[in-house]
Symmetry: C2
DNA sequence: TCTGGAAATGTATACGCTTGCAGTCACATT
DNA sequence: AATGTGACTGCAAGCGTATACATTTCCAGA
């Protein structure tokens, strides 16, 4: 029923091999012939059958994008960046949601299955200790990752350690010495970014001899609600922090809310800083360390393409990329008040 | 190199046909045989080649999800809902971003190309007047749509007319008679939802004989920034509105910001209401009409599946679905003050 | 005019699976 | 005992393209 390469070949008076070569821009085709074939293909509304092409060539023309969330801001933003590049390269994007790690719903497709369906894998911020992840990293296939893993794979990320440091330093510069930490979750199930951000935070605490107190840490699951609850917990302590570093802006949003709900004023009574520069942050006057989220996706996708289209004469040199961040000071941070 | 159906067949001592039938759960296979085949397939780590299967069967096992945005809240939320169902049904999701309609970057793939790659199409909120859309709607293929189009296709949406009415009515009940409208864009390039929401708004204005003034309408492009600018424009008028209905919560967020930047208090000096119940709305105390966004995606995906797996004895009865909304009253709306 | 080699083109097979059709076999029916 | 009935199973023909490999064409150079 549908037009096949044979129809085009017949109409153009050439073999199917020539049509295939002409349409795909391969060399060794007379330009006149190529033009004719292209014209006829267009006229017949010929569309190559991806299934047949994939079967014959062994290439799938698609990329798996594995992500723990689809609709959360950071992830959708990254996905958007990835998509723009893949679309441009003519590759299909297979979005695979592996579910909420916090709830243990991980379901990364088994390696062989994945290998059959895609030419490359792009992983967004999975915790490195995930058992399903290892076989995938072992897979001999182009892949890149956003958000950091130790070795064996290209990784695109910000310098989380440094970002956390600058955020915390800002609080210190403002005179704060009792600083709370809003982390995502406990150390067992953390993304690489979390671990690094905590390290950055701790390094500043240690360097300046600030208060160290396990009660100054709370978990917000990277959600607004979680951030609010975590902040309330910190505020309920006998000696609450005078400033808080949140590992994400969304948790910081919740923290701002919690602070206000106690009749306190962010940036005056308690300082708050996050990481992200979420679109809402400006409106909520949240100080933060801005990272170019969509850009992370763009770069990771470009890395993947580089790996895929590597030839012997233009060898691909792997490498991780660290993307710059920018400290943005807004109203949510301010000098330590003499008394709370 | 990879294990094929022939390897399994050989190992099980049956024909490839039987393996194919056994593994896919088709009838007319002895249960003992089926179990044996399954066991051997598992043992060999056999994974069916999607390309070959697709080529032979003509089914692609994937669904195109066409959307104008990936990272905007509403869309990513819908996509997330869609994904959960497709994943459950074992279908691949091909995410196609057709770009920013506002800037005329539409690039819906040509119909024949689409038909070759997917078994079904799910469209998220494209403006019906898009010229690329019509051939797709004409396509003889399972499809469903979120956000409304006139006829010829299953459409999952809220009752936008009604939602806008209830939002506006709330303002009227609070005594407001000069109500502004924050729309997305001018009437030429609107989503169906926009048109319906404007109609709902107008119907209330007319019913209660409220102020009608073209100066009371501004465009916010459904973004926070846009909402802020639009609200500022309204505030700059000689006779600003005392209340505003925004077609989306995100525009309303911008409006709140604009109001505060003028030293006014939302809900006291000027009332604002949106549509969505965005996760931030509660924190910003924004009154709104809540719609179950992810649920829209779920339902649309289920409709698509119903169409795809329709058999002669269980005919699929098409139909659009209207999802319920809930008016949520928060602090951003309040009674009209005697004087501004 | 002849020849060598590159460029252009064609031939034919493989890719791995699905499925219509035909064949086999056990068992119930005459 | 002959026949019919289903359930199972196998055979083999595709599905539409890519690509080694073979063949032809075209020219420059001798």
């Amino acid at each position: 029923m549908a037009i096949t390469i044979r129809d085009v070949a017949a109409a153009a008076g050439v073999s199917t091999a020539t049509v295939s070569r002409a349409l795909r821009g391969l060399p060794n085709v007379d330009e006149a012939t190529r033009d004719r074939v292209k014209a006829i293909a267009a006229e017949l509304d010929y569309v190559i059958s991806p299934s047949a092409s994939r079967l014959a060539s062994g290439r799938t023309g698609s990329i798996a994008v594995i992500t723990p969330y689809i609709s959360r801001w950071f992830f959708s933003e990254v996905i958007s960046g990835v998509e723009s590049i893949l679309q441009q390269a003519g590759l299909d994007m297979l979005l695979i949601n592996v579910g909420d790690y916090q709830n243990g719903h991980a379901r990364i497709p088994p390696t062989p299955r994945l290998k059959r369906r895609v030419d490359g894998i792009l992983i967004i911020a999975l915790p490195p200790q995930d058992p399903d992840l290892e076989p995938i990293l072992r897979l001999d296939m182009p892949k890149s990752m956003i958000g950091g893993v130790t070795g064996g794979i290209d990784c695109i990320a910000i310098d989380d350690f440094h970002a956390a440091r600058s955020a915390t330093e800002l609080l210190v510069e403002n005179g704060h010495r009792r600083i709370g930490l809003l982390a995502g979750g406990p150390a067992e199930a953390r993304f690489v970014a979390e671990t690094q951000r905590e390290r950055g935070f701790r390094s500043v605490v240690t360097a300046h001899g600030l208060d160290e107190d396990p009660m100054l840490e709370a978990f917000g699951r990277f959600t607004i609600d979680g951030g609010e609850r975590a902040m309330l917990a910190l505020l309920n302590q006998p000696e609450p922090p005078t400033a808080v570093f949140a590992m994400s802006d969304e948790m910081a949003f919740g923290a701002l809310q919690a602070i206000r709900s106690r009749g306190l004023e962010p940036g005056v009574d308690i300082s708050v800083i996050g990481i992200d520069n979420h679109p809402m942050s400006g409106y909520l006057s949240l100080s933060t360390v801005a990272q170019p989220v969509a850009q992370l996706g763009v770069i990771a996708a470009e890395h993947l393409l580089a790996q895929m289209f590597t030839t012997s004469d233009s060898p691909y040199s792997p490498g991780s990329v660290t993307v710059e961040t920018t400290l943005i000071e807004r109203g949510s941070t301010g000098p330590l008040r003499d008394r709370l």
